[in-house]
Amino acid sequence: MGGALAAEWWKLRSVRSTYAVLAVTAAFTGFVVLLAFQMAHVWDGLAAERRDDLLLRPLQELGGWAASLCLAVLGVVSVTSEYRTGMIRTSLVAVPGRRRLLLAKAAVVGAVALAAGEAVTVGSFLGTRLVVGGRPFPDQQAPIAHDLPGFVLAGTVVPVFALLGLSLGVLLRSAAGAIVSVVFVWHVLPLLVHHLPEPWSERAGSVLPGGLPTQMAGLSAENSVYGDLLSPGAAAAVLAAYALIPLGFAAFVLTRRDA
């Protein structure tokens, strides 16, 4: 297993697409922090009574949301690029234990995505806080230590999307198909669910992956398309299921299919 892990790690860090994805993710986080400067500027120019409507949180949450897509794409191409070039056969000849190969890939991609996700969510939060300084935005009254765990939890959705992308890549073997399917879960499905009438929009919105970290942190889902009906434990279980169930399917298919 150690060898397979080391090999996957080497593979991931020796292609340019990995750096492209991480660069876009980092650039997006930088952009979020830049927007915070703009928000601070707007705050200074706003009359006191209108300041109550100016929220910083949507901006802070944007980083993790975009990082989910970027790292999901990383997960997809980590598999589909091998299928496209035929290198999957080389990989399977080197590591014939297919479950082991998938596990190694998932572990490496998941770890990178977790690191990137935490960097983005925590970075967005701390960066924007630093930028707005002492300005008392209505949703930034709590001390940093109080809000930080929520953002740490928000980072966990990023590896889930990355693993979902990886599994879909194995199942579909096509970058286009897998990316579109991930986008469907990431954005189109929430949009559609949002259009459902109550109470179904809230029920369905509660089990969408994007809304699970808030529920894990025990926060309400106000101002979002998601719901907040799950307990923290149940939300964590559902989030894990989004990563593990597709991975199980992928393992099942990979071991049975001719390469």
Partner: protein
């Protein structure tokens, strides 16, 4: 040691390999021959655990490839040299392969040196020529210093220098006591490289033989010229040979070898001007063997 026993592989309704059995022994280069679509690549893919056999088994060193802990140390394979990620550097491509099988990265430099790519180690594979990719694929096969090597059409698209290099490499690998299996659809190439031949057509075994045996099997009689052709015909016919008179007076003798013909002629004092054993070229032998088993033959009118 490679053993294929009663191997069958079906893709949906088409049977790619049909109850195929053969063995490849160490110390020899074995040519795996057949027309395009005969099932050579499929057999190799099953041997490497890439495709699942419908029935039967394909073993390397007595075990299934999939159950090997560090397979590249026992089996090296080159399937499709083009199947590399173009954005990766040559060193990185071999690097991850080495790490996956617990092979030290120093070995990467060694094999790059051996295949003559040491100077291109830091270049991206996407910019490699076909010959360079082929060398990179062979470097990957040699990475684990394996006792069994399999190459699928290794000389495809190579220049004469490259072809000769591969030929000499294969022979030296076999001389080191390794088992070497090379698939090809070109008999002329195998004639120069292989000691043994496994010929298949439409997924079935046609011949499992040595190059010499195959040449003998397709011996086409002995060409004899003599100023006393009529006398010689009578003598040879009496000795039990079949004799045909060719245009120009030469005789084609079947059923007796060169020595027996010479002895018979000498016993009767008949002078001989030429005695030449005639055999079909291996190319012709191969065409004859595989006639009718090409998957998509041209229609001759």
């Amino acid at each position: 040691m490679i053993e294929v026993r009663e191997l069958t592989k079906r893709y949906g309704g088409t049977t790619a390999v049909d109850r195929l059995s053969f063995a490849v022994r160490p110390g020899t280069v074995t040519g795996f021959l057949g027309p395009n679509g005969a099932g050579k690549t499929t057999t190799m893919r099953v041997l490497l655990g890439l495709d699942h056999a419908t029935s039967g088994e394909a073993l390397v060193n007595g075990t299934r490839y999939g159950s090997l802990r560090r397979p590249m140390r026992e089996v090296g394979a080159l399937l499709d040299a083009g199947a590399v990620h173009g954005g990766r550097r040559a060193f990185d491509h071999l690097g991850w392969l080495a790490r996956s099988n617990g092979i030290g990265t120093r070995r990467v430099a060694e094999v790059l040196e051996r295949v003559g790519l040491a100077g291109a180690a830091r270049r991206r594979v996407g910019g490699f020529s076909l010959g360079m990719r082929q060398r990179l694929g062979i470097a990957a096969a040699l990475l684990g210093d394996p006792g069994v090597l399999m190459f699928d059409e290794p000389v495809n698209g190579l220049d004469p220098d490259g072809v000769r290099w591969i030929r000499e490499l294969m022979r030296s690998l076999a001389a080191e006591g390794r088992t070497v299996l090379i698939s090809s659809h070109l008999m002329s190439e195998m004639e120069l490289t292989a000691d043994r031949l496994v010929v298949i057509g439409r997924g079935r075994l046609i011949a499992d033989t040595s190059v010499r045996e195959l040449a003998d099997r397709f011996r086409r009689g002995v060409l004899v010229r003599s100023p006393r052709a009529a006398d010689l015909t009578a003598v040879l016919a009496a000795a039990g040979a079949g004799v045909d008179t060719m245009p120009g007076g030469a005789l084609t003798v079947t059923g007796l070898d060169v020595a027996a013909i010479g002895d018979a002629a000498a016993a009767h004092g008949i002078p001989l001007h030429e005695v030449t054993p005639h055999s079909a070229s291996l190319e012709e032998a191969y065409m004859e063997l595989t006639a009718g088993s090409a998957e998509f033959g041209a229609v001759t009118r």
